[in-house]
Structure formats: structure tokens, C-alpha cells
Amino acid sequence: MGIIRVNRPAADRNAFEAAWGYVTSIAKGMQLTMKIMLKQLLKLEKSETLEWPEQPATYSERFKGKHFLTQREDGQVRCTACFLCATACPAECIFIEAGEHPDHRIEKYPVRFEIDILRCVFCGLCEEACPVDAIRLGPEYVMAGSAGDKWVYTKEYLLARPQLQGGIASIKVENDKHPAINKIASVENNKSVVRH
């Protein structure tokens, strides 16, 4: 480590020369702005601006938005209440209460599964930690609301959201491993992951 000495820029020769430089630069910039504005006004070029919320926005497939819980084929929650997401969560926003499942083969399931979304930092570590692919971060990004709204998402809300309108395949086939683990996961399965 050391100090790098940089020469001071030479002082402008005179005020006029400096002012000229500024003015021409601004003019050059404005020229480009005007050109694009005119092109788009005359519909010669497509505008990148979306008229959100009337127009829907598209995000990358890997976008980490609002959480949802996947389901078994019979509609029950896949989550086995192993607490690994709660353990991994840096914001400590996941609360789980485990219980004995009436079905002998399932044994353990979450009686309560709650996410305090105001604390969530959308890091996606819960999704990474899950051994049974039960929690995922979905494509929903609109989470604005008012103080009176519920900011703790319950298991029921996370499990089946009518507003997703079936847009997300949150039902997972039993014993279907994550594609990265099980390369035989079909294209069909991959397609159904995220759709807007």
C-alpha cells in the first residue's frame, strides 16, 4: 500500500474557454435527447417506458419476490417444518410451529408458518435451505399497502393465493427432486416454474 500522487489538473486558461466547453457539451447532450424524443413521438422507435400499473412489467425468471409455499398433489403443504429456512433466515422473519400430522407417513407438518414480510430482505436463503422445495420466492413484486394491512403472511396465504390464479405451479409432484439434483427432471416441469 502506498499513496499515489496525481498531478493537479492544469488551471483553465481563461474563463471563456471553460464556459465554451460547458455550453457545447450541454448542447450535444440535448441534441441526442431531442432526437430520441422526436423519434418516439413520431413512433419511429419503440419506447422502453412502461405505463405501469396499467401495463404489466416482466421480470427475470429468477426474480425473488413474494414467498409462496408449494403443495403436495393432494393440496397439503409440502413443508415438513424442519425449521431450516427459519435457521437460514438472516432477518429472522420466519416463524414456524410444528405439529404431528394425522397421516402417519408425513409425521411432521407446520401448524403455523408465518413470514413477517416487513422484516424480510428477499435474500432467498430460505429457498436455498429448504430440503423439500417447499418454499419459493415467486414473481409477485407488488407489495405496497397501508399500515392497517396484514404484514405477517400466514400459512394459508402463502399456500394458496387466489391472485396467482394458478399462474404458478406451486404443486410439486412427490419425490420430484430439484432439477439440479435430478437431471432427469423433464422440460415440462421446468416450463411450469414461473409464468406471468
Partner: protein, 496 residues
């Protein structure tokens, strides 16, 4: 003094009593030799074949749990061949072990997991299906048995045979079809069931009480002394302070008292620590509404009590004391009330029906008060002669104007507590200092002051042997209004 033997363990000269095994020596020297079937409180079985060590001159690796130290022996646990053997021994154990970790309560304190991180082979060799066995069997009031997770270390069978001598467990069939269990799923009924959970190195036995309640890695543990009876077993209380909840009680090794074990009753003391059973705020009885009035402020209650003490002559005040508090608490309590305030009426508060000399042959004693001897010593200290026995009726009969009472902490030790409290109702003013509270059973007492539970204080108790033992560590109290006896007395000091 028995004869000593010296040998070399991993290059260190180690001296141990004659007849010790290498495993015992390694445990003393804190050299970790992986093992499943060895337990210091049980006979050697030598079946897990995990604790292999290299002995110079031996033809093959030896298991350290059955290897008696010979003078001059050179033992190594660090050689590559030993490490390789450990890796494979673990691999054999994992072969038919189900991948239940997400739903297994043992996860986080599981021998297989821990050793896998330490000595795992890290490349799965297994491609074939596992042997399937019955799961989630009900084998006792405190136990759930998963035979698939069992690694057949036989510790539980030996516990049943050697410690409780009930012989209820067996290993049936043979080879990798071997199944641990009771005869045709019969229930284990003794008082020491949860020890099976403790000694199980995997999640084959899990505790019904703790089942699915919490993952173990969230729990903090603090050393304490069991308040369930006069044996005073060393325990560890496991709780989650940020949740203000306690989840389980486990025994701590103490060869002079409880060895490695703890009875199920002792584990039930936990129920008296959690908020549902606790008095969280000071309360007074509102006769008009026939209801308790709780208050977040304890200071006014202490002030009222102080005023009463000041108003009354010492002979109109009585102390009613149960034998479940620490020596330090008694010292402070009696020092203030007897020595400083001159109160001479001191009564013991005990269970009238207790069979004090009962003993189940292992740990649990009929005297359900953890500190009977400590209380008697404290009374003697302040010059009060007393014989052990319940004096509540005598206290009521004396009709004092004010009774300051230290309630029993653990309710299973005092089954007649509601009736005893009802007797106190006839008295004018009772200031009951208590950890727990039952809205349905308690009425009409003048004031209730909330005390800290046994896991929330440090101090000493004296058990039936006269051994004074330490409650070493304390959790923060479940509520900020819950006070130590010393805090209440300090409050009284300030007022008077």
C-alpha cells in the same frame, strides 16, 4: 488409592487407574474417539465398532471401549488407517439410516450428523434401496420409537436391563432385519423413560413431550439442580430466552448424585417454568368483582406490604415457608424478617400427605422438596427449633394478622396446594410469594408477588445426603416484573 498405569495416547504420556479402558482414558484426557454404543454408565457392548484405535504391535485395529490399558501401550487415534476405518464405520452406520433429518428431533445433536461432519466419507456409496422398518411407534407415555432410524447400538436395551432392570426392550430378528422394540409394541411404564431418549445416539427414541416443539440448535442450556425431590439431580434446562420459553430438561453427569440419569418427574418440573403456569405480575384479590387484579407495577404491592409490617407488631406476623428455595434465599429472608424485624412465628409449609422416606431405588425420593435440609439449617441459624413437618394448620390456628408465605414452586410436589391455600383464606392478610399461579384454583389472597423460577436463579441447595450443590446458571426471568426474593426484601428495606 488403586494402582496407576501409564501408556501413550497420541504421543502423550497418560496415567490412569489400573483396569481402565483406552476409551475411559481418552475421555479423561479429552481425546475424542468416535463411538455410538459406549456409554460411561452402561456395560461395554462393543458392537458399533466405531471407536477403533491403532495399538502398536497389534495385528489389527482394536476397539478402544474394550481395550484395557496395559503399561507401556502405544495407542494412536490419529493415524490415517484409523481415520479411514472411522470413515467406513460411519458409512456402514449410515447405510440403512433413513434421510429423516428434516423431521427428526435429534437433528442438531445427532451422533450420525456430528460424526459425518467430522469423519464422513463425503461421497455417497449407496445406490440401493434401504431396509424399511416400522416408524413412529408408541412405546410409552414419554416415548416415540422409530425403528428405522435405529443403529442398533443396544444402549437402550442395556439401560432397561442394567439401570431400571425392567428388561422391556429387546432386539428382535437378526442381521440387518434386526428391529429394536418392546414385545409386540407394549408400553414402557417406568419413571425413567426419557433417559432412553438421552442415550439414543440417533433419533430412534424421541421425547413425546419435546416432539416437534423446537429445533435443538435454537436452544440455550443452563446448568441447574432439579427441584423435583430431595435427591437434587444435576440438570440442564434447555430454553429459548428470546421466546421466554423453556423446552426441556436433561440430566447432567454427576457421579456423586445422579450419575447420568434423571427421572421423568424431574423433567416435568419444566412445566412450572413456562408462562402459562407462572404468575407474571403482582396481583391482589378484588372482593367486589370476585377476581384477581394484576398490575405491571410491583412497587405499590411492596409498599403496601411494608406498611402492614410497620403497622403490626412482630408477634402478629407469621412466616410460612416451603422447602423449595435456595440456601441464599432462606438466609436473606430469615435474616430480614427474623433477625431484623423480630418475627418469631415461623411455620413450615409442606405436603401433609408426603411419604418422606419413600425411594424408588434409583433416584426419586418421597421428600419432594429440593432443600429440606437447607431450610432446617437456615432455621437453626436464626435460632428457631423445628422438626420437619407440615405446620400450615398450626399457622392458621394461631390467627396472625399477616402471613408472609413462600409457596411451593413445583405443583406436582404439592398436590394439596389448592386446599392449603383455601385454608389460608380465613386469614386477614396473606402475602403469597410464588412462582406459579392458577386462576381457576386460587382465590381471595390479599396479595401475590411473582418470584423467579428455579432456572432463573443461581444459588445453592442441600440435598438429602447433605451435599450442597449449585444452581450454576440462570436464564433471564420470563417477565421483567418477576422478582428475586432479594429484590422484594430490598424493596421492603427501602420503604421501612
Amino acid at each position: 488409592m488403586s494402582k496407576q498405569v501409564s501408556f501413550t495416547l497420541d504421543g502423550q504420556e497418560v496415567t490412569v487407574p489400573q483396569g481402565w479402558t483406552v476409551m475411559q482414558a481418552a475421555r479423561q484426557e479429552k481425546v475424542a474417539i468416535p463411538h455410538f454404543c459406549w456409554h460411561p454408565g452402561l456395560k461395554v457392548a462393543g458392537v458399533c465398532r466405531f471407536c477403533l484405535v491403532h495399538v502398536e504391535g497389534a495385528r489389527k485395529l482394536e476397539i478402544s471401549c474394550n481395550l484395557v490399558v496395559q503399561p507401556g501401550m502405544v495407542v494412536s487415534t490419529l493415524r490415517d488407517e484409523v481415520k479411514q476405518a472411522h470413515k467406513w464405520a460411519l458409512e456402514f452406520h449410515l447405510l440403512n439410516h433413513p434421510l429423516d433429518c428434516p423431521i427428526c428431533d435429534q437433528a442438531g445433536e445427532c451422533g450420525l450428523q456430528d460424526y459425518y461432519m467430522e469423519v464422513g466419507l463425503y461421497q455417497s456409496q449407496m445406490t440401493r434401496p434401504k431396509v424399511l422398518k416400522p416408524k413412529a411407534l408408541d412405546v410409552g407415555s414419554e416415548l416415540v420409537l422409530d425403528t428405522e432410524r435405529c443403529i442398533l447400538c443396544s444402549k437402550c436395551v442395556r439401560f432397561e436391563d442394567e439401570v431400571t432392570k425392567t428388561g422391556a426392550l429387546g432386539i428382535f430378528a437378526r442381521g440387518d432385519r434386526s428391529i429394536i422394540g418392546t414385545y409386540h409394541g407394549q408400553k414402557i411404564t417406568h419413571q425413567y423413560q426419557e433417559n432412553l431418549v438421552d442415550i439414543c445416539p440417533v433419533g430412534a427414541f424421541t421425547s413425546r413431550r419435546f416432539r416437534f416443539k423446537q429445533r435443538v440448535w435454537f436452544l440455550k442450556e443452563k446448568s441447574s439442580i432439579c427441584p423435583g425431590c430431595s435427591t437434587g439431580c444435576a440438570i440442564k434446562v434447555h430454553g429459548k430466552p428470546e421466546m421466554r420459553r423453556y423446552f426441556r430438561v436433561k440430566p447432567e453427569e454427576d457421579q456423586s448424585v445422579n450419575g447420568h440419569w434423571l427421572c421423568d418427574k424431574g423433567r416435568m418440573t419444566l412445566e412450572h417454568l413456562n408462562p402459562e403456569a407462572r404468575l407474571m405480575q403482582a396481583a391482589r384479590w378484588q372482593a367486589a368483582q370476585q377476581a384477581w387484579e394484576f398490575s405491571p407495577q410491583t412497587a405499590p404491592f411492596i409498599r403496601e406490604l411494608a406498611q402492614e409490617i410497620a403497622r403490626l407488631a412482630p408477634q402478629d406476623i407469621a412466616l410460612l415457608v416451603s422447602a423449595q428455595y435456595t440456601n441464599e434465599e432462606y438466609a436473606e429472608f430469615f435474616d430480614y424478617f427474623v433477625k431484623q424485624r423480630g418475627i418469631t412465628q415461623v411455620y413450615q409449609w409442606r405436603e401433609p400427605s408426603e411419604a418422606r422416606d419413600d425411594f424408588d431405588g434409583l433416584l426419586l425420593r418421597g421428600d419432594h422438596n429440593a432443600n429440606t435440609r437447607g431450610l432446617m439449617a437456615a432455621l437453626k441459624q436464626v435460632g428457631i427449633k423445628a422438626k420437619i413437618g407440615d405446620q400450615l394448620e398450626k399457622c392458621v390456628a394461631a390467627k396472625p394478622q399477616l402471613v408472609i408465605a413462600l409457596s411451593p414452586e413445583i405443583s406436582f410436589t404439592a398436590p394439596s396446594l389448592p386446599e392449603q391455600l383455601a385454608q389460608l383464606n380465613s386469614l386477614a392478610r396473606v402475602s403469597l410469594w410464588t412462582t406459579h399461579f392458577s386462576a381457576s384454583q386460587w382465590t381471595q389472597l390479599w396479595q401475590l408477588l411473582p418470584l423467579r423460577g428455579f432456572a432463573e436463579k443461581i444459588g445453592t441447595v442441600t440435598n438429602y445426603q447433605g451435599k450442597t450443590r449449585v444452581l450454576k446458571e440462570a436464564f433471564p426471568p420470563v417477565a421483567s416484573e418477576v422478582l428475586a426474593i432479594s429484590q422484594i426484601i430490598a424493596g421492603l428495606h427501602k420503604e421501612l
